[in-house]
């Protein structure tokens, strides 16, 4: 699903966000990107959806070479990715329905199918009755659930989540994680940047720990037991 080799990202300001990152994420996995602030988690996610182009190295997302892809390829790639932001980036001048239906409209869904689809995904996150509400009328947790509904509305094979639980209390964060886990069980590959390590106890997954723009540690979740270490890999037992 995602392959990167010696990936390097340097911003025009001169700051190096990623330096020689090499990792592979297989289809259907639930991967955590962890690390201190400034470790490169968000920059890596931005590279994955084509928000920034890597300065050097190789990055392939769903078969698309992000570094060399044209604008059209990047647009098509983004339509196959659901993105969840820490600040959820909901449109406050639009209703919940319009927020959730936006990716569907971008993909050219017929207007008469939008309401039914939006209701379905909102039902999944328990907000079907807030279809016509404005985001300002929702709590923080509800807003994040709307963001999840928006990200999953097109059934994307890849979901990128940038600290989706960062602004939530522990209970709400766990429920948001439940939804992401369920999406993963339904077949979506989920990559989530977080420094909320206690979530890993209840919601296990592969862990990629970043430090100073490089991959510092890689821990793979193995179903039914630990997977033998491969070239320095460690394991996270499934709980």
């Amino acid at each position: 699903m995602i392959q990167m080799n010696r990936l390097m990202l340097r911003y025009p300001t001169g700051k190096t966000a990623l330096s020689g990152m090499t990792m592979n994420i297989e289809k259907g996995r639930f991967a955590y990107l962890t690390g201190e602030s400034g470790a490169g988690k968000s920059s890596l996610l931005r590279c994955l959806y084509g928000g920034v182009r890597p300065s050097s190295g190789q990055l392939s997302v769903q078969g698309v070479d992000v570094r060399r892809a044209g604008q059209g390829q990047i647009r098509r790639l983004r339509r196959d990715i659901g993105i969840i932001f820490q600040d959820h980036r909901l449109l406050f001048s639009r209703t919940v329905f319009e927020n959730v239906a936006l990716p569907l409209r971008v993909q050219g869904w017929k207007p008469d199918r939008l309401v039914a689809r939006a209701e379905k995904v909102l039902e999944f996150v328990g907000l079907k009755d807030r279809l016509w509400s404005f985001p300002e009328a929702l709590s923080g947790g509800e807003q994040q659930r709307v963001a999840i509904a928006r990200a999953m509305s097109t059934k994307p094979p890849l979901i990128l989540a940038d600290e989706p639980t960062g602004n939530l209390d522990i209970d709400t964060a766990r429920h948001v994680m439940d939804y992401l886990m369920e999406l993963n069980r339904q077949g979506s590959t989920v990559i989530m940047a977080t420094h909320d390590l206690h979530l890993l106890d209840t919601h296990p997954g592969d862990i990629f720990r970043l430090h100073a723009g490089a991959l510092a540690e890689e821990l793979h979740l193995v179903s039914g037991g630990a997977r033998p270490a491969q070239q320095g890999e460690a394991h996270v037992p499934q709980t």
Binding site: R53, P54, I74, R75, R79, R89, F134, A137, T172
Partner: protein, 297 residues
Amino acid sequence: MFRRPDNSAHERNMPRLPGGFSLPPFGLHQWLALIIVCIALWAIGLLWLGLQAGSSWTQGWRADIRFHVYLEKAGNGRVQDLAEKLKTVPGVGAVRIVPQNETRAWLNDWLGGGGHMPDDLLAALPASIEVTPGARSGEFLYADLADAARAFGGSVNRGEAHLVQAQSMLAHVEQMLWFGTLVMALAMVIVISNTLRMTLLARADEIQLMRLLGAGEWFVRMPFLLEGGLLGAGAGALSWLLLWPPLFAVGDWLAQLDADVSGFALFLPLIVGGALVGCLGALLATTRLASENTATA
């Protein structure tokens, strides 16, 4: 499972379009642009109505304007000579000596159709020669005809000459009005463009989100194009409505002049023109949206 605050009482209720979509926000900037464009279109509409009135008054619709040359107490020989002379004037298309029975019928009509025409009145009428301007008649045709007629002691109908001069002047005015309309249209495009630029700034998050979701160039531009078009068309419709009070105010005066002016003729031009400048303004405002949607690090 989740705690839900009871804030439904504070929820906004906005009118929705078919399909569940909200109307785009219509703020102070949009109102200002609407008023400015409306005033500009109204001024243009008034000028075109004025031209329409002038054209109607000077019978601009007539393509068969002819000059009449009169010769008092002349024998057939002199009339024939003058007709031959008039044929040689540059710009003259055709020359015809008007028969006396035709003059009699016209005069009879003019006098109300009584049927009896005194002989002494007929005898006092001048001989009449009808001159049809050619395709290449210039602005000096009247002067040349007058010179030719004067040499034989005749004269040219001044009223007809003034009519032709007025029509020529109105043709120049129309050209200037087209130019003025284009300049005003350009100004309106800039006004709408600036308004939409402010809207773009206010909705930058929405645009960025669309980009992140993989929206194409026209998907992002289309709402703004529609907004610009609707704003322009709305201003056009409003300006058309505002044309009627002045039309009613000068209605009697126009009727006295026998000038036929129709406000309905400007309905489509104002609305379509307004929508067009609105769309062009939106295109101009969204030009920068065409820039790359990914940064190269």
